[in-house]
């Protein structure tokens, strides 16, 4: 039966960066253990039923009439259908109650709080107490209990980093909280998992866990306003950015651009990806994105700037990539 092939197939895919079976924190490990325990129990029950069906198949040719005596079947039905499930479900229920506290929201305030705000189709990330604002890439220190406050400005999204903890929905008017306490530095991928419109499939994010020292350095850089460009292309880029309408949607701290519709671009150069992990952050990709976003992320709310002369677009790219 194909279900028996599950362990083999799953083992190969285990180490993918968004796999539930590849935990990196205690809550994720507890859930993974709960899964494998339930899977083992399920296979036992499944085997019992398959055995009964095989017995029925093997005995089909026996001589004599089928016996209409219900006493035997009653024992099996009451035993297998009533008594055994009560015992098994009690054990499972106990296991569930044991695992639940690890995955629930932090009881009290933790050392670091990060606000993640869901938009139609990207993640705004704010660090309370600092002016730092970024998008789609959440840096957190390793070995620290980080309290992520998940809210949304429009529809329901769902904040989910399978390798770090369970998902938590982002409901308008409600600040749900989840604890990310990752011991090992690394890049963990997450994705929106509540249908939120046409861009739902391309709304992923990274949680980048760094040693505390490097995290503090990163946060200091992010808190600074944007660097003024030094090259002529950079200056032309900035002037273009502030004139063709980019500042109506995007914000760059240190300039007059203060739009809140699109992501904050103050330190776009320091980010690894663009458009919520849809494309890598390279000048070539940024140029294509600015020219025609719909080709890369259909339904995105950003207009295309193909009408702008190529020189200005290249200048924009140079300016934005310079914002380390």
């Amino acid at each position: 039966m194909v279900p028996l092939g599950l362990p083999v197939l799953l083992a190969t895919g285990c180490n993918s960066n968004q796999a539930i079976t590849n935990p990196a924190t205690r809550p994720a490990r507890d859930i993974n253990t709960l899964w494998w325990a339930m899977f083992a129990g399920a296979m036992v029950v499944f085997a019992v039923v398959v055995a009964l069906l095989v017995i029925a198949f093997v005995r089909r040719g026996r001589p004599g009439e089928p016996s209409h005596d219900d006493r035997g079947p009653y024992k099996v039905i009451i035993g297998g259908g009533l008594a055994a499930p009560i015992v098994v479900l009690a054990i499972l229920f106990g296991f569930v109650i044991h695992v639940m506290p690890a995955t629930s929201s932090p009881p009290g305030p933790t050392k670091l709080t990060v606000d993640v705000i869901g938009h139609q189709w990207f993640w705004e990330v704010r660090y309370p107490g600092t002016p730092a604002v970024t998008a789609d890439e959440i840096h957190i220190p390793s070995g620290t209990a980080v309290d992520v406050r998940a809210t949304t400005v429009d529809v329901i999204h769902s904040f989910w980093v399978p390798r770090l903890n369970r998902k938590i929905d982002m409901i308008p008017g409600q600040a749900n909280r989840i604890e990310l306490d990752a011991p090992d530095p690394g890049v963990y991928r997450g994705q929106c998992s509540e249908f939120c419109g046409v861009g739902h499939a391309q709304m992923a994010f990274y949680v980048i866990v760094q040693p505390p020292a490097r995290f503090r350095a990163w946060l200091r850089v992010q808190s600074r306003p944007a660097a003024t460009p030094t090259t002529t292309a950079g200056l032309l880029g900035r002037r273009t950015f502030l004139t063709v309408g980019c500042e109506d949607c995007h914000a760059i701290r240190g300039t007059s651009a203060a739009g809140r519709v699109g992501p904050d671009l103050t330190h776009l150069g320091s980010r690894r990806t663009l458009a919520a992990l849809t494309i890598p952050n390279t000048p070539r990709m940024l140029y294509d994105w600015i020219s025609n976003p719909q080709a890369i992320k259909p339904g995105a709310r950003m207009p295309g700037f193909a009408s702008l002369p190529a020189a200005q677009r290249h200048a924009l790219v140079a300016y934005l990539e310079g914002l380390r």
Binding site: L82, L89, S105, R177
Partner: protein, 126 residues
């Protein structure tokens, strides 16, 4: 002990009680318990959780007693039909008392699970 054969009204009463009471007891436990949980956790926030446990405990106890008595009634009725004390030409009383026994077991378990769950989780953290 009054012989059931002479009390058909008691038979139908026990039969109906055995089938209807356990589900109703669980439903009341769910509605009252869930209502209390939402109300207490809604305004009380994190701290509201502690006051819940005594309430959940009493609701579960009452539901358990009702379901238990219904189960006992079904068992007694089933045994009575076994001893042939009840005129049951169509075999319907035996049929419904068997159902009553299993309903009792399932809903007693469900009430016990719910009680265990509500008494061990600590309140309002989501």
């Amino acid at each position: 002990m009054v012989s059931l054969a002479r009390a058909p009204r008691l038979t139908t009463l026990l039969q109906a009680y055995g089938i209807v009471a356990p589900p109703l007891a669980w439903t009341v436990q769910l509605v009252i318990g869930y209502g209390f949980a939402i109300a207490a956790c809604g305004e009380g926030g994190v701290s509201g959780g502690i006051g819940l446990h005594p309430w959940q405990g009493t609701v579960a106890l009452v539901a358990g007693l009702v379901a238990g008595s219904a189960w006992g009634g079904a068992l007694w009725l089933h045994a009575a039909t076994g001893r042939g004390e009840i005129d049951d030409p169509l075999g319907r009383v035996r049929f419904l008392s068997t159902i009553g026994i299993v309903i009792g077991v399932i809903f007693l378990t469900l009430i016990a699970f719910t009680a265990a769950g509500t008494l061990t989780t600590h309140g309002c953290r989501e």
